[in-house]
């Protein structure tokens, strides 16, 4: 460095002395331990005031303006103004800037119904997601911050909400996750941006964006006799508000629009999900010209069979003219484990905290009140209401039998919609996974043998894809003898509800044996060890290399290595056009001699493995849930995609057929 010699020498001494001073001071300085406890302090939980409230109280209030200056908003002075402001009025103001799906539902009831039960609608409500992103944030010392949640609630992040808020306290539109405006108020190409795209703010009368433009809207606006007098941004106050324009944004129909959130890689280059990249290299893109939307928003779940032609809106008392309509249910591997009063989103169900019960459009109960409604005890059913035991205690909100009956009516609708979704989700999964019959059965002195082939049924991506390191798709094998005694299993679950793979805590702790015959398509997170290569982990946090995992931009080129130095994902899914053989062996020792032996093979799918719940549980679950209950609901939701049976007609241990 070309500096004056004396200055240079002085700086050298100062800096070296500074380093020595830092060392000396730090030697006596033991910083208090960061909030990082794997064994978090238990807290007493009451549903009327969940402990999440404590966290939520720290959260900054919603913003007065769409985009104040600086990142650490609000500033001190703004805080004072905001806390002094009328909360209801402020909520209304923000509401207007980020309209809720419930406002859209008024004219688009079919879209709303489909979306309300979709994984997009569930994205931010999911207790597993929220716990996981909080756990990762804690384990990365705060540095991961909004990386995960930016996709899950773009509105919430744009409003500056804290990442660790309870969903019960979020802005209603933020709670809706991937809501209507998350896509229909986006007007720019953001590319592979891990969800970091801007929602154009504005009340319901402002323009929205769609791939087909405003032809239908212009028909509506031009025909007040049929559709009524409507208020747009250009008109004065009218009785019914409607967006004034639908500006054409063709990119919304392109796969890259989905890729903004479905190609997830961190600023350190970690490729968490690469569904869009898989698609771009697939025959569906190169040869068929089939888009993501064609399979996932079309007539048939998971297959490109065209779109329905239907009216897209119901305005006044009339439906608009039919045209191509996309399905917004987009079923997939996720399913709800929430109280059915909270999900699917239901205009009649939820009343915001503080809102008057009699206010127009207010739902039946607040989210906290719904959490107190014991639907499993059959509250509100005729049978229950007719036989309530004496002295039975109800929470204040549910003392009135009429409210319980009304709640039950809403829940019946919810269950019906959930069942509909579950069917479509299973159809989608079946489009992705194919399973053969039991093939090549044989028996010899070592036991029974058979095989099953599993292959990828799509041409657009691997299966599983996306969050494939936490997608559990496996084969469950049961063999029983003629007396009904189970003699052999693979793919069975441990007491926590995990398959017996290396991530099972029962297997890891040596309490049950590893399932050597397990056939699973789950990819694995791999982290680098301080020495000794790499190992699988449930979360891709690099503990071994560093006691202080700290996320910063990668200092080497992201795309050369395709991943950061310290972590990666080992893909173990099935590629397009690929297949796997699952081979099974039932050893002679377990045969009882009571043949014939029945074999059943089931392909099963769960949204996440239970070990993930276990690993993240120190960060705490929302809605007053405990890890055991979360696991139970996840296991209850496992899909059975296929089942095949076979009978080995052997009658003794000697295996003579």
């Amino acid at each position: 460095m070309n500096l004056p010699c004396g200055w240079k020498r002085g700086m050298t001494r100062i800096s070296a002395a500074g380093a020595a001073l830092i060392l000396a001071v730090a030697a006596f300085h033991f910083t208090p331990r960061l909030v990082h406890s794997e064994e978090a302090e238990p807290a007493t939980l009451t549903l009327s005031a969940p402990p999440a409230k404590v966290v939520a109280a720290r959260a900054k209030p919603a913003l007065l303006t769409e985009k104040p200056t600086g990142h650490q908003i609000p500033h001190k002075s703004e805080d004072v103004i905001r806390y002094g402001a009328d909360q209801a009025h402020m909520s209304l103001f923000v509401d207007n800037q980020y309209p809720s799906a419930k406002q859209c539902a008024e004219c688009h009831p079919t879209h709303f119904r489909e979306w309300s039960v979709s994984p997009h609608a569930y994205a931010q409500l999911s207790p597993v997601f929220n716990c996981m992103q909080n756990a990762i944030k804690i384990l990365t010392n705060g540095t991961n911050n909004d990386f995960c949640i930016r996709c899950h609630t773009t509105v919430g992040m744009q409003l500056g909400e804290k990442t660790d808020m309870s969903q019960l306290d979020r802005h209603p539109t933020a709670r809706e996750g991937i809501t209507c405006i998350t896509c229909h108020r986006v007007n720019l190409e953001y590319g592979k941006g891990s969800g970091r795209r801007v929602i154009v703010s504005g009340d319901i009368t402002q323009p929205v964006y769609g791939p087909l433009g405003s032809k239908v809207l212009q028909q509506v606006l031009a025909d007040p006799d049929q559709y009524g007098v409507l208020e747009t941004a250009e008109t004065g106050n009218r009785s019914r508000k409607i967006h004034g324009d639908v500006q054409q944004f063709f990119s919304m129909a392109s796969p890259s629009f989905c890729g903004t959130c479905h190609d997830v890689f961190g600023p350190n280059g970690f490729r968490l999900e690469d569904a869009f990249s898989e698609y771009k290299a697939s025959p569906a893109a190169k040869e068929d010209g089939v888009s993501c939307q064609d399979c996932h928003m079309g007539k048939v779940a998971g297959e490109a069979r065209g779109y329905v032609v239907e009216p897209i809106a119901h305005i006044g008392n009339a439906w608009t003219t039919p045209r191509r309509r996309t399905n917004h249910m987009m079923p997939g591997p996720d399913y709800s484990i929430l109280h059915p009063g909270l999900f699917p989103h239901n205009v009649e169900a939820i009343r915001e905290e503080g809102a008057e019960e009699t206010a127009p459009g207010a739902g039946l109960a607040t989210m906290r009140q719904w959490l107190q409604f014991d639907h499993e005890a059959a509250w509100g059913t005729d049978q229950f209401e007719a036989t309530i035991p004496e002295g039975y205690q109800f929470p204040d909100a549910w003392r009135e039998p009429t409210r319980r009956t009304e709640a039950r009516r809403i829940l019946n609708d919810q269950f019906e919609l959930l069942a509909e979704y579950r069917q479509f989700a299973a159809d989608t999964l079946r489009a992705g996974y194919k399973m053969s019959k039991i093939t090549e059965p044989s028996c010899d002195r070592s036991g029974l043998h058979f095989k099953v082939k599993v292959w990828n049924g799509t041409r657009g991506h691997g299966t599983p894809t996306g969050f494939d390191a936490e997608r559990l798709v496996w084969l469950y094998i049961t063999v029983w003898d003629s007396t009904g005694k189970v003699i052999h299993q693979s793919g069975d679950l441990d007491p926590n509800g995990d398959v017996r793979d290396t991530h099972s805590f029962y297997v890891h702790n040596g309490k049950v044996p590893h399932d050597h015959q397990l056939f699973s398509l789950q990819s694995k997170f791999i982290t680098r060890n301080i020495r000794g290569g790499e190992r699988e982990q449930i979360l891709p946090i690099t503990f071994s290399l560093d006691p202080l995992p700290f996320l910063r931009p990668e200092t080497s080129a992201l795309n050369v290595q395709g991943r950061p130095f310290a972590a990666r994902k080992h893909k173990q899914n099935i590629e397009v056009g690929g297949s796997r053989w699952a081979k099974y062996h039932v050893p002679t020792k377990v045969l009882t001699g009571n043949g014939p032996y029945n074999v059943r093979v089931q392909m099963k799918a769960g949204m996440v493995p239970v070990n993930l719940v276990h690993r993240i549980s120190f960060a705490g679950f929302d809605y007053g849930l405990n890890p055991k209950e979360v696991a139970r609901r996840i296991v209850d939701g496992h899909h059975v995609l296929y089942e095949e049976n076979f009978v080995f007609d052997v009658h003794s241990r000697s295996l003579s057929p």
Binding site: R9, A19, A27, V35, S37, H71, Y190, S194, D492, T555
Partner: protein, 573 residues
């Protein structure tokens, strides 16, 4: 003949490993000795309704809603069996069991030494609802302009390029600062005429980066190390001088510099020009970089360079024929290729050479395979060469545990018709094995290498040392700060070596202790054999700092005992 023979040995070893991995046809015995086969009586409805019965079990009748203790009442009423390990696994796991034996004692010792609680996982899921726990606030970067790094709140201002891409230029400044006090003493040998080596120093290092972030895929990264300067010794020998104070010599060390350490652009062609593929039907998403950048291949065994002027092109996420995820990168580097010689432990800058490399990584069902080749073309006496490497990284499922393994085979061949100090002919076999004992996140590792003749990496930076520096053990690695070099010489030519280490986690994972023993023997010079043992304690403090304490004791054949200790404070920002 020799490379062929070595390749044969490598393949044989690979086949053996693969055999172990896939040996899953053993007989079954009850997992618990006291448990005989106790199949469950299923309900009478079973035979009539087939799978419905099992579904009823799946609904968790009994075991599911009320968690049973194991082994009395297994989840769905079925007791799994531990397969009987074949003889080769018995032997292998007997070895790992023996290696694992001291870990518990070391954990107890460390608990006492560092007043920390050894970390372990509970087996059962908790029934306690603890509510959402508070998370630490985001530690802001030194400078954040336009948009915060992973910050909540509105995103930054954007521009739309003429090509249709949306960029949000944001400037982020971040880095790390390291400062340490180090003392080392190695007694000389009168008989060999080797004098004492002793030093005590304070040194520091600052790695500071400025990133102009444009999108999720495009960025410009600029980096400097203003407190440690690359130095050029005799015959262009490279080293680095760290700002600090040398107590032995009583002098200040000047490392101030304004050299550009990192400066490159990287992007994705398809993302920069989205209009070229409006319907996403073409495969134009080629990643590329250009500029000065660090580069690593074969986990540092083939290429380990911190400062390479290079241009790269990458294709990612390709699949087919059992290959689940292929990445291919072509590299062309010029101007400042660092050449390393194992004979004199020198690194020299070859300004007249060029490097061409093809780097690949593929995920297969059980393994991740890296196959890389690099050609260094030199116009001076340093010579041209080809270096290549193949590695397989996989987990082997044993019967007591599962094992992380990686096996590397590397070779180098001079192409100038003769060997030079930087273009040796030779091979390197490198093996890493590790596993996590039950209940926790601890790690036990056993690493070994065998260097046959003079294997030479294509390029190695000045502080990287020999190929064994990165992977064998902490005793072999340069700390990257000051003069405190590795206790065991990390060159691999004509030698064999290995390390066994224990990494133990305490208080969650924020306190760690690593114990390691290692040794190296030369296959040509019996007087240079070395054995050493060391310990590292590292502790995260708050959100930014890590304390590191390193100490070792070692003995080289022709010298007396050597000792060293260092204390480091690492700050991330």
């Amino acid at each position: 003949m020799r490379p062929t023979w070595n390749l044969t040995r490598f393949l044989a070893a690979t086949v053996c490993a693969a055999g172990l991995a896939h040996a899953q046809s053993a007989e079954l015995v009850p997992f618990f000795e006291e448990d005989a086969v106790q199949p469950v009586e299923l309900s009478e409805a079973y035979e009539a309704s087939g799978h419905v019965r099992i579904e009823a079990l799946d609904d968790g009748q009994g075991g599911h809603t009320d968690h049973p203790p194991y082994p009395g009442d297994y989840f769905f009423g079925w007791t799994p069996y531990q397969e009987e390990a074949p003889w080769y696994w018995e032997i292998a796991e007997g070895f790992t069991h023996a290696v694992e034996a001291p870990s518990e004692s070391l954990a107890h010792l460390s608990e006492g030494l560092f007043c920390a609680e050894h970390f372990h996982f509970e087996t059962n899921l908790s029934r306690m609802a603890i509510g959402i726990q508070a998370t630490p606030d985001r530690p802001a970067l030194l400078i954040e302009w336009n948009e915060g790094f992973l910050a909540e709140g509105p995103l930054g201002d954007h521009i739309v390029t003429p090509f249709g891409a949306t960029w949000r230029p944001s400037l982020w400044v971040f880095g790390t600062h390291r400062a340490n006090f180090a003392y080392r003493h190695q007694q000389g040998s009168v008989s060999d005429g080797v004098s004492d080596l002793q030093f005590a120093e304070i040194s520091q290092r600052l790695d500071i980066f400025a990133q102009l972030n444009l999108t999720g895929t495009e960025r410009i990264l600029f980096g400097m190390r203003p407190l440690d300067q690359e130095t050029h010794g005799p015959a262009s020998r490279l080293g680095r001088e760290f700002n600090g104070y040398d107590f032995q010599g009583g002098n200040w060390i000047d490392g101030w510099n304004n050299d550009v350490q990192t400066f490159f652009f990287e992007g994705d062609f398809g993302e920069i020009f989205p209009y070229l593929d409006y319907h996403d039907n073409y495969q134009i998403d080629y990643g590329f970089t250009i500029g000065r950048q660090p580069l690593i291949a074969q986990q540092g065994l083939l290429i380990n360079e911190d400062m390479l002027d290079a241009m790269t092109v990458t294709r990612n996420t390709l699949s087919g024929n059992g290959n689940l995820n292929l990445r291919m990168t072509g590299v062309f580097a010029w101007n400042r290729v660092s050449r390393h010689t194992q004979q004199n432990f020198l690194t020299v800058r070859d300004r007249n050479s060029k490097l061409f490399a093809l780097l690949t990584e593929s995920d297969f069902k059980t393994s991740t395979v890296n196959a890389d080749v690099a050609y260094v073309q030199s116009e001076d006496d340093l010579g041209s060469m080809v270096s290549w490497g193949v590695s397989g990284i996989q987990r082997l499922h044993g019967f007591r545990n599962h094992y992380n393994t990686s096996l590397h085979f590397l070779a180098s061949h001079p192409t100038s018709g003769r060997e030079t100090p930087t273009t040796g002919q030779g091979e390197l076999l490198f093996s890493r094995t590790s596993w996590t004992p039950h209940h926790g996140l601890d790690l036990i590792y056993v690493n070994a290498f065998w260097g046959i003749d003079q294997y030479a990496s294509a390029t190695r930076g000045p502080l990287m040392g020999g190929p064994a520096g990165g992977g064998v053990g902490i005793l072999w690695a340069h700390t990257g700060l000051g003069q405190y070099g590795p206790p065991i010489n990390n060159q691999t030519a004509d030698s064999v070596g290995g390390s066994v280490g224990y990494q133990l986690q305490f208080d969650g994972t924020r306190k760690q202790v690593i114990f390691e023993v290692g040794g190296k023997a030369s296959t040509v010079d019996p007087h240079s054999d070395t054995i050493a043992s060391g310990m590292r304690y590292q502790q995260a403090c708050g959100q930014h700092n890590v304390w590191i304490l390193d100490t070792y004791v070692g003995k080289t054949e022709s010298r007396d005992v050597a000792t060293g200790v260092r204390v480091e404070l690492l700050t991330k920002f």
